[in-house]
Amino acid sequence: MSTPSLRTLALAAATLLVGGYALAFFYAPIEAEGFIQKIFYLHVPLAVVALLGFILAAVHSIRHLRSGDGVHDARSYVSIHISVVFAVGALATGALWAKGQWGVWWEWREPTLVSFLIVFLLYATYYPLRYSIEDRDRQARYASVFAITAGAFVPLNFLAVRLADPFIHPRTFSSAGGLPGEMLLAFLVCLAGMALLWATLVWFELASKAASGDLAKLRRALLPSEQPPPAPRRAVAPAGVSAMSTDLGDGAGGRS
């Protein structure tokens, strides 16, 4: 099966997102909560895709530990990076919704919010952990173990929150009726668009890292006498791209 190009993926993501938000604003009805409910079409897809991304990172990490192939480590790393960015978006949009709906930016008694924050903070420690290890092989292995453990925590956390009672945060996928048809359609299109955006950004970042790695390899091959540039203090790249470069530390990893 051939893989779609980055441009195709980006176009599909843009189309679905534009279509999804057009449906959300012009087709889906305004329900009892009022116009502020439109944040739901942004906030929930961001949170769902971020959590799925964390789980996918765990799957890549399992493959990395099984095969020792650094490509899977790089995929896991980039998946976590983009998911952390999406989680920041989910937290920010959720805080805005909470302020409008509940009158507070944050509600510590709500298990959904607190558990999502715990997951986010857990993954925020991925980078310090990763870059505190100098040896690349050990770094990749430890990061994979971390990603698997944290990834296993995500569905457990989701279940625990579902079982929690009482709660005030609305439940999107509940057994009690769920969403009306028009809202469900808009939501699903937005969710698909957000998932494609996530995939596009992961692909884009992987391509960028591969290009950067190829460049470093080329430099070493063409200018063997040249001293390699001093490695950034925390930059020990995932093995899949680290063989090619020391570029990973500046930007992707640390800036989310």
Partner: protein, 82 residues
Amino acid sequence: MDPVLALSEAEGYVAGAYLAFAALLLIYLAIMAAKLARIQRELRELAESTGAPQPPKPKRKAGRASRAQRREVEAARREAQR
């Protein structure tokens, strides 16, 4: 607080949420664009230092020249006048 916000107040929060997402995305893309520009620059430098044919410079849209380009043109003009 009234559970159903007035439309104007709700609009502010909804706009804020969507703008926050757009800003996050733009910041990410700006960081990635800067990284790609650095890769292009390093590739050009590498080509220069090895004497290999240089990779094409990124095409600029016709219109306003960059500050660096204007500075180069100005320096060339001054050199010619001397």
